[in-house]
């Protein structure tokens, strides 16, 4: 008697528009109906142009000392953008920090992300109704909030879902496991969107996950899981639509691994040449999601050099305006350190705010004895 099979499964890989320009019509345009209409496709590409320009300018802002640490998004535009495109405007986007493309598509004003990296909390004051949570610095922690946000939507029967973004490294954190496990076992409509960009700072993906795919992380939870080419916006949109359907119809979560690559350094504080091969970067430069999409659009006669030039010019203008808005915002006031700490500020914090002191003598001048002599008398009274 051989061993019994208790469980069998498979992870699919989705690729629609591959790096050589070949397009899988069966998946990309089932029944002749493209999963991304041409109009939208052009808009998505134009949006990528905007984001690429933004990235370039943000990098320069940091280098010229006008902004703090900044994590380049370059090369990863198709992931969060495809995801945001496939969702409804009231689905929660729960990002990490490399999802400019998706957040801007949703409508986040460009200057918000700059403000964040300029060390200003107002960059996180996401306008109401935008359904975006702030950039998450502590890796792997935000997925749990996505689970909670989606859970609340389910509780209220709203048919909204949450899509949370994170890197390959983030899947090593315990909080990722707990978020996915909660979602799977309590039937919560979350999409776990992993951007596997090959590296977590200097640590290669195989140290985070030595399994053949990261997508199989989801199998642990009995979650529908899929891998896709993350530089192929069609593949991303394909997976997202399936996942969104599953979430909305059955409150079931999905794990998506989008295979992509971080073309730049981890952040402006990093120098990736210390740990990775120029050849590897070169290879991925050729797989740039923008090159691929542009070629496709050109081939389809939806794009040309003139349009490109115009798009880049528009992008430049928009980014310049955003930088201006971010840099012209009035400096935060020291009181801002305190003002948002609680709905109602405790007395002690009011005093700290008024005096900008933590040492008590300055804070309670009425208690300062006029002279030292008086002090002793007082004490002995």
């Amino acid at each position: 008697m051989p061993l019994k099979k208790a469980f069998t499964t498979t992870i699919d890989n989705v690729s629609i528009l591959d790096e050589h320009g070949s397009f899988d019509a069966k998946l990309g345009a089932p029944g002749g109906k493209p999963i991304i209409p041409d109009d939208d496709l052009v808009k998505l590409y134009e949006h990528m142009c905007l984001c690429r320009k933004y990235d370039e300018v943000a990098f320069k802002l940091q280098r010229s000392g006008r902004m703090g640490t900044y994590p380049e998004n370059r090369g990863q535009e198709a992931t969060s953008l495809g995801a945001a495109y496939a969702l409804n405007g009231d689905d929660w986007l729960v990002p990490c920090y490399r999802e400019n493309a998706g957040l801007f598509w949703r409508g986040l004003p460009l200057e918000f992300v700059l403000l964040h990296w300029m060390g200003d909390e107002r960059g996180n004051a996401i306008p109401e109704g935008m359904c975006i949570t702030p950039l998450a610095i502590p890796i792997g922690t935000q997925m749990l909030h996505a689970t909670g946000l989606a859970w609340a939507s389910k509780y209220r029967n709203e048919k909204r879902l949450a899509c949370t973004f994170f890197g390959d490294g983030a899947t090593s954190e315990g909080d990722f496991h707990e978020a996915a496990n909660f979602a799977a076992n309590l039937d919560i409509p979350v999409i776990f969107f992993c951007q596997n960009n090959g590296w977590a700072i200097s640590v290669p993906t195989k140290i985070q996950c030595s399994a053949p795919t990261i997508a199989q992380r989801g199998i642990a939870y009995g979650m529908d899981s899929i891998q896709c080419d993350g530089n192929d916006i069609f593949a991303v949109v394909y997976c997202m639509k399936e996942a969104a359907k599953r979430a909305r119809e059955n409150n079931r979560p999905t794990f998506i691994e989008a295979v992509t690559y971080r073309l730049g350094d981890h952040t402006t504080a990093d120098d990736a040449r210390r740990y990775r091969d120029a050849k590897e970067v070169e290879k991925w430069n050729n797989r740039d999601p923008m090159i691929r999409l542009r070629n496709y659009l050109v081939q389809r006669k939806l794009w040309d050099d003139a349009k490109q030039e115009a798009a880049v010019a528009r992008a430049k203008e928009a980014v310049t305006a955003a930088v201006k808005r971010a840099e012209e915002i009035a400096s935060p006031k020291t009181a801002d350190i305190f003002n948002s700490m609680y709905a109602e500020l405790p007395d002690d914090l009011v005093i700290q705010r008024e005096t900008m002191m933590t040492h008590s003598l300055g804070q309670h001048p009425e208690e300062l004895p006029p002279t030292s002599t008086q002090q002793r008398t007082h004490q002995q009274a």
């Binding site: 702030p134 502590p138 749990l144 859970w151 909080d175 609680y342 007082h378 004490q379």
Partner: protein, 322 residues
Amino acid sequence: MANLTLVQAINLALIQEMEDDDRVIILGEDVGPNGGVFRVTEGLHQRFGSDRVVDTPLAESGIIGSAIGLAMAGLRPIPEIQFEGFLGPAFDQICTHAARMRTRTRGALTVPLTIRVPVGGGIHAPELHSDSPESFYAHQPGLKVVMPASPYDAKGLLISAIRDPDPVIYFEPKRIYRAFREEVPEDEYTIPIGKARVVSEGDDITIVSWGASVVQCMKAIEASDRSIELIDLRTIYPLDIETIEASVKKTGRVVVVHEAPLTAGFGAEIAARVMEHCFLYLEAPVQRVTGFDTIMPYYKLELEYLPEAERIATAIDHVAAY
């Protein structure tokens, strides 16, 4: 009015807040059909159903992290952590997110969360079922930390916590869960967070304490012939220094009592504040009667570790004699 234990008072507050507001939901390990390992959520699952009283996977960071998401979406989740010893896995979500969300988003997102946690020693429980971690959380800005010492306060403070727009850690001193009963009004009422309670008035010495230690202080006071003012903090952060100050300016002598270890325990903060606010009135250095700077021992020795009435009495004598 009914004569209730602390457990019953909490249970009643939960029921009433859940009746009033369907944003209130409970989540945690064994809080459902089992009613919690201390039976604090007894009957709630039957009453409110499994959408509002949710047994979760065994994962404290998951419980708090998803509750943060629930709260960000506008619900009023009340996660239960089964014992204070298991709050550690959730420390990061509490300090990194719950405490920071309002200020890091400049108020765009908030976390109206009440984390219920049984706390403290004295019930002969296994390892990690008897600690007192309140000082950790009092040191984390953005949180409020409360600990009732009586059934009456338990109900009023819990209702305040649930209605509070910011995250509150609500510690429940398990040693007095069922130790005594008290008249607790049937109607809902609140006890303001941030206000201490003068348990008994006195002129010679001020004792400041909270949680189950308050009962030990009362015992020590009863056995003493000195006139002692006992302040039950009720809220650890924000600290009600006014009430303490008024008392110390009268007595000039202070004893602080808590179960947590001495070093960097919240007693240190009280001592420091008392010195700052009442320096010229102090007749003796503030004395702290606390757990030792050791791991809470297994239960055979736990009563030697805890600041029991006798140790408090000794400190009273010392501070009075100074």
